[in-house]
């Protein structure tokens, strides 16, 4: 293992220190509470947005704190959800009187710890709602199971719900918009390698040359199935087919297409993949009108990519285009 790090046990803290040092006017790292908050508090009466999850998936969520997205993020240990204490602290920091929306990816640990935090927050008198992100089409939907993971759609939920909150929508409206995004977004991921958590010091599993993992998540675990390596055209075809078959977009639908890198795949390969997906979607009569390509929801140094598609409507498009200024997503001009 070769990584830029000091004591592996400090890898998450050292990252957070660096993030705050690089973007001092945007985010502040509260080391005592282990949360990342906006440096300039949102205006009073804005619905607060809080998300948290295992570290190792950067820039999710800490890199998305700022104007137009999250008010606070609580990072856990590597691939381990945050603890209730952090979630409570982040919620208190995010509250400016209009309530707080928790964006929760559907991982058992994240769901349970947000649940425990919400029980503790019942004493604080803050209106709290939550949206559960479940966009992973590689998981069959069966009763009595943990269900589908929350993956790339999380970024879209945070951006779009964040814009709605910034616009002045109330908690019920922001929550409804967040749920509309989760309802209309799907993801399928492909892994070309495993990844190496700092404390483990070696890859989580061995993936021989010539084999790849279909249906991966964001914690370095193996995927749904191991298949033979194939060219990008065939991989893109499988990704598009998995996502579109599950999403069932209306004919001619306008799409937001996210080609997300897992951390170790070069941008050139991600754009190559985007080109393939764009062509395949148009061939199906669908219309990609917004795109996002890069590393947004990662698994440390895993090579691979995931395709997320969101079927847009006019309001979602307006909210996607709205100004945002965070460490990792920034566009438009603040009002």
């Amino acid at each position: 293992m070769k990584k830029f790090m000091n004591d592996p046990a400090d890898a998450v803290t050292d990252y957070l220190v660096g993030l705050a040092a690089a973007h001092p006017t945007t985010v502040t790292f509260d080391a005592e509470r282990r949360i990342v908050v906006r440096t300039t508090r949102a205006r009073a009466g804005k619905v607060g947005l809080v998300a948290g999850g295992g570290s190792g998936c950067e820039p999710l969520h800490t890199g998305f704190v700022g104007h137009g997205m999250l008010d606070a993020a609580c990072p856990g240990e590597i691939f381990t959800s945050p603890v209730p204490k952090q979630i409570v602290a982040a919620t208190l920091a995010a509250d400016s009187g209009a309530g707080v929306l928790h964006v929760i990816k559907n991982f058992s640990g994240e769901v349970m710890n947000f649940g425990m935090a919400t029980e503790l927050l019942a004493f604080e008198g803050i209106a709290i709602d939550s949206v559960l992100v479940t966009d992973d089409v590689s998981i069959p939907q069966m009763p009595g199971t943990a269900g589908r993971r929350g993956l790339g759609a999380t970024v879209l939920v945070e951006k779009i719900a964040g814009a709605a909150a910034e616009r002045g929508d109330d908690l019920a409206s922001v929550t409804a918009i967040a749920r509309r995004v989760t309802d209309r977004a799907r993801t399928f991921g492909v892994g070309l390698s495993s990844c190496t958590p700092p404390l483990r010091g070696k890859p989580i599993y061995d993936l021989p040359d010539g084999e790849i993992e279909f249906g991966i998540g964001i914690s370095g675990e193996p995927g749904r199935e191991r298949v033979a390596m194939r060219d990008a055209h065939q991989i893109a075809d499988a990704m598009v087919s998995e996502v579109v078959t599950d999403l069932q977009p209306s004919p001619g639908a306008q799409l937001l297409v996210l080609v997300n890198g897992m951390g170790a795949t070069p941008l050139s390969e991600l754009y190559l993949l985007y080109g393939e997906c764009d062509r395949l979607l148009r061939a199906r009569g669908l219309e990609p009108v917004r795109s996002l390509v890069g590393n947004f929801v990662t698994s440390l140094d895993q090579a691979g990519a995931a395709l997320t598609i969101l079927e847009l409507d006019d309001d979602l498009t307006v909210l996607w285009d709205a100004p945002v200024r965070t460490p990792s997503i920034t566009w438009g001009a603040e009002a």
């Binding site: 240990e77 959800s81 603890v83 640990g109 710890n113 998981i139 483990r200 599993y205 370095g220 193996p222």
Partner: protein, 211 residues
């Protein structure tokens, strides 16, 4: 009957839990690597290390104070499903333990049942889902049955530990239905569940310290 459990014995149990988790941390990580992100042992080790790190563990002078310390520390430092489930397990035992300084065998069995119910409430796991509950549930049943049959606490805990180990071994043939492992479905068949394995250690520690 002299089947009583003092707070000092419970402290010895917690201390033995911490020792066993430390000894088995790498093995638990490797089991977790087959289906998850290879950190189950490290996460529990971090929790029990924090539990043991306070200098006044032996001054917590009731089961309730001791178990509350264990549960809330695990909730505060572990995170993930393990933190929520093991934290809830010990916190429910604390809430159930009442203000008395000493437990009898039936009282300990009641605590364990309450802890198990806490895990069911928090994670909605059922036997057969390939989780830590697959070793805990048979241990609770075995303990209750042995005590009802008139066994001493020591003998009943031997039965409970054997049942937990059998429950753990039984997870090898199962496909996970809960937690991160469930994303792999049938690919988890052939390996024991990491959580069931750590829970069997917790029950084994009870056998060696409380009997």
């Amino acid at each position: 009957m002299n089947d009583q459990i003092t707070t000092a014995q419970l402290t010895a149990w917690v201390t033995e839990c911490a020792r066993l988790i430390n000894v088995h941390a790498d093995a638990l990580n490797d089991l977790d690597a087959t289906a998850g992100d290879a950190d189950h042992g490290s996460n529990l080790e971090r929790g029990f290390t924090a539990v043991m790190a306070i200098g006044f563990l032996d001054q917590l002078d009731s089961p309730r104070e001791l178990l509350k310390h264990v549960g809330s520390t695990i909730v505060d430092v572990v995170g993930g499903s393990s933190g929520a489930l093991y934290g809830t397990f010990f916190l429910r035992m604390a809430v159930t333990s009442g203000p008395n300084g000493v437990l009898d065998a039936a009282g300990f069995a009641e605590l364990l049942r309450a802890g198990g119910q806490g895990i069911v409430d928090r994670g909605s796991a059922q036997v057969g889902d390939k989780t830590l509950y697959d070793s805990l549930a048979p241990a609770i049943t075995a303990l209750d049955q042995a005590l009802a049959a008139g066994d001493t606490l020591a003998r009943a805990l031997v039965s409970a530990s054997a049942a937990a180990d059998a429950g753990r071994d039984g997870t090898v043939a199962l496909a996970a239905r809960k937690g991160r492992a469930s994303y792999l479905g049938d690919r988890t068949i052939g390996y024991a569940d990491a959580g069931a394995t750590s829970m069997a250690l917790i029950i084994r520690a009870a056998m060696t310290t409380l009997g």
